[in-house]
Symmetry: C2
Subunit: 510 residues, 2 copies
Amino acid sequence: MQNVSLAPDGTEYQIPTEEENARERETLIKITEEQRALGRKIVAVQGLGFVGCVMATVVADATDKNGEPIYFVHGHQRASKRSFWKVPVINSGEPPVSSSDPEVPQIFHRTVVEKKNFRATSEDSVYSLVDIVVVDIQLDATKPSFGEAEKGFCDLLAFREGIRMLGQHIRPDCLVLVETTVPPGTCEKVVKPILEEEFTKRGIDIAVNPPLVAHSYERVMPGAKYVASIRDFWRVFSGVNQKSIDLCREFLSNVLDVDNYPLTQLDNTNASELAKTMENTYRAVNIALTLEWARFAEQIGVDIFKVREAIRKRKGTHDNLLRPSLGVGGYCLTKDPVLANWAMQTLFGLEGTLGMAIRSVNINDTMPLHTIDLIKTVIPELTDVNVAVLGVSYLENVGDTRHSPSKVLVEFLRKEFAKVLTHDPYVETWPELEDSQVESDLQAVLPGADVVIFAVGHDQYKGLKPAEVLAICGTKPLIVDCSNFLSDETIAEYKKLGCQVRGVGKGHIV
Amino acid sequence: MQNVSLAPDGTEYQIPTEEENARERETLIKITEEQRALGRKIVAVQGLGFVGCVMATVVADATDKNGEPIYFVHGHQRASKRSFWKVPVINSGEPPVSSSDPEVPQIFHRTVVEKKNFRATSEDSVYSLVDIVVVDIQLDATKPSFGEAEKGFCDLLAFREGIRMLGQHIRPDCLVLVETTVPPGTCEKVVKPILEEEFTKRGIDIAVNPPLVAHSYERVMPGAKYVASIRDFWRVFSGVNQKSIDLCREFLSNVLDVDNYPLTQLDNTNASELAKTMENTYRAVNIALTLEWARFAEQIGVDIFKVREAIRKRKGTHDNLLRPSLGVGGYCLTKDPVLANWAMQTLFGLEGTLGMAIRSVNINDTMPLHTIDLIKTVIPELTDVNVAVLGVSYLENVGDTRHSPSKVLVEFLRKEFAKVLTHDPYVETWPELEDSQVESDLQAVLPGADVVIFAVGHDQYKGLKPAEVLAICGTKPLIVDCSNFLSDETIAEYKKLGCQVRGVGKGHIV
């Protein structure tokens, strides 16, 4: 079992031996030569995670005026136990991610099986064969202390290693296009120096062949428009020198729908990197604001969601106003403000704090505790109280549990000795909270419930009638609505049936 | 001189004597009877300030299907030395405010002189004659300590007096429509109890005749669409009981363009009051965010304004992102977050702070000091340094100096013993900084300048060519751009001519 990678569906895949790697190297050279002979440029995508694997298919799917593929794409994934399985899965024509977007399986099948111009590998030497590397290495912020994002940092170790590997293999004229969301300054202060160092070691004169580094960030959204959110959307980019900028523009123009979503070029990579983290901080700050006002609204009989709709009538100036909920999850809003603050203090050594950014993350990260406070206004003592949490993903109608606020909710409910059962129609396993069984049948979580929390507004929950819910419960539980899920009419019905109801930002129902 | 009110143009107006007031009472009764005979309802607007005087004309200008005026409007302004002059000015058909909106003088002339259904008075008894009072009393937040908005409070004394006067005069079935931006809770906790108290004193049974109180906030913007921003814009409203709500809806529907800008009714007046303060807090928070990132951008070679444009490409989700500048001025964004925080803590006695709101006000209020820091990166010691500040209003192409950040800039430059001259084409007098002579001729401020600050982006400054500016200066001053006023090309030209240039959020030029 030592050299096996386990796929989510339980299939075991042998990690390649040295011999197999040697054969793979020959295969890569042969394929690459064949593809070059077809007039195609060769691209490697580094990291086949949530963004990388779909980006790879989008690149492979790009065609010229005659409908011929412009690129051949090598997807590269390290041969780790955790991730190697993606290589054989992709090469069978299947996506390594589950998605509600029907285009996802289609584009994998089309590029891998039909066009045969996308192939995955775990062999590092692939980088020596390519014209462009798209860097999609995962990069996270570490927040060592709950609710203290100011202590957050970015561990660049694996990222540096990934870039160093490129420096050891790539041709001097290969464009390194960083697509990962990175702390501002990373291309100039991390990527470029490492490539220069490795180039110099290899005897490449960096005065003649300065590394070509560009940055362009994706704006991918999980859900029904997963592929389109990569391909058919506005892009911002820049590069560390003019040649990088020109090559990046050419590449993005080939791959993306730039006619409908024109590219935006910024002055330098610092600007492009800063734009991505600021963009997400804008949303994090926006949500944090609504959370503070939701708490106020709850205590003065106000429905913050109706207030929000009233404000959003002012299109163009006020319609970005977001809404409060259980809390903020996902991969971007929880970490990007921290990356920027850390970059300012550490990569640039500047004084001060991005205070609005950090404060917003702290408010958002700790927001799930407010739902527990709401419960306690009705049930002060939670020991042995049966709580059913409906929804553990971080977004409606999506099975993505990364940084889900439901995790904080469940953990803190358990700290109060509540008995917590969880349900989600989109989530089979919950990797971030492995000891929690996520049920797909309401019959498994509702019977005997003292509290039912509508944590995430999945469509499936919308069809539930109060009488139906109470029949399964066999109790008259406290109903808690975290995401403006219940209409005023449904709330009135629950009350009529003898339940108490509370809701985040819903002061008008108390 | 004891009983004289001085208009801004220097004209003196005698404040009415008791005899004159007695005659005015008879006149008011006569006019009101005549107007009722024409089938018109009678409205009073309480407070003829920035909002009230224009709102009064909009109400008077409203017509029925036959083009006949629906209302007669009594504008009421207290007979104070500071403000009485507005009464005779309005009654001559002239607006008591200056504006770049050509509709302002037109609508005053049309309603006062042509239709003769708007008239101003300082006589309190007018309130006994009317069907509706629109309350536009000014209400400000007091921030006793610079940069510490958490200590801010709302002094309701004058507002309470105004409402009490209504309670002493109005008919029991008169609708009191509060249009002033008030701390959330004001209608329920201040207006209604005062009216109930005064009604009871007058022998009115409030069980039979509960006071009719509604709240609907304006969204007026100074500038070229002043009148339209009151009349042709979305409105939010609510009332303390069903009759108040119904009367308010009827009134607003008669007066405003509700076909194109439908009304939004909220559950209660707390909600409507909260919506207004949250709406402006949303913008205050938004700006504070950009200010923090502007400082970061300046130090890493990034132009935050280009970053902003890149982010704003995402229409509907990111296009509300505002821009940094010298600071935040005006009447709304500087006070509304404070009103809400004070209401939460004081009117409702709740724990906690609206932290994002308060923090944003502190960042915004102190932002002008950052421009001084920018200057000091080039000129560390400001004693006897000649500084020309171009623009003292708080908004481009508008002469409104209320809470202008230029005031903070000038005051703190003076504390550093700089010699400051100020210029603004739209501002004749600067009531908030009376000892500062505001020049309208650049020849009066530029000669000998060591620093030229483009504080506000008035159009007039946009035509200025660098060579022209330097010719008037006779020096090679440091040029400071606080509002993304200078293009990259213009900055290059200033540099070519030997100037240094700095700008808020403009790291790419250093």
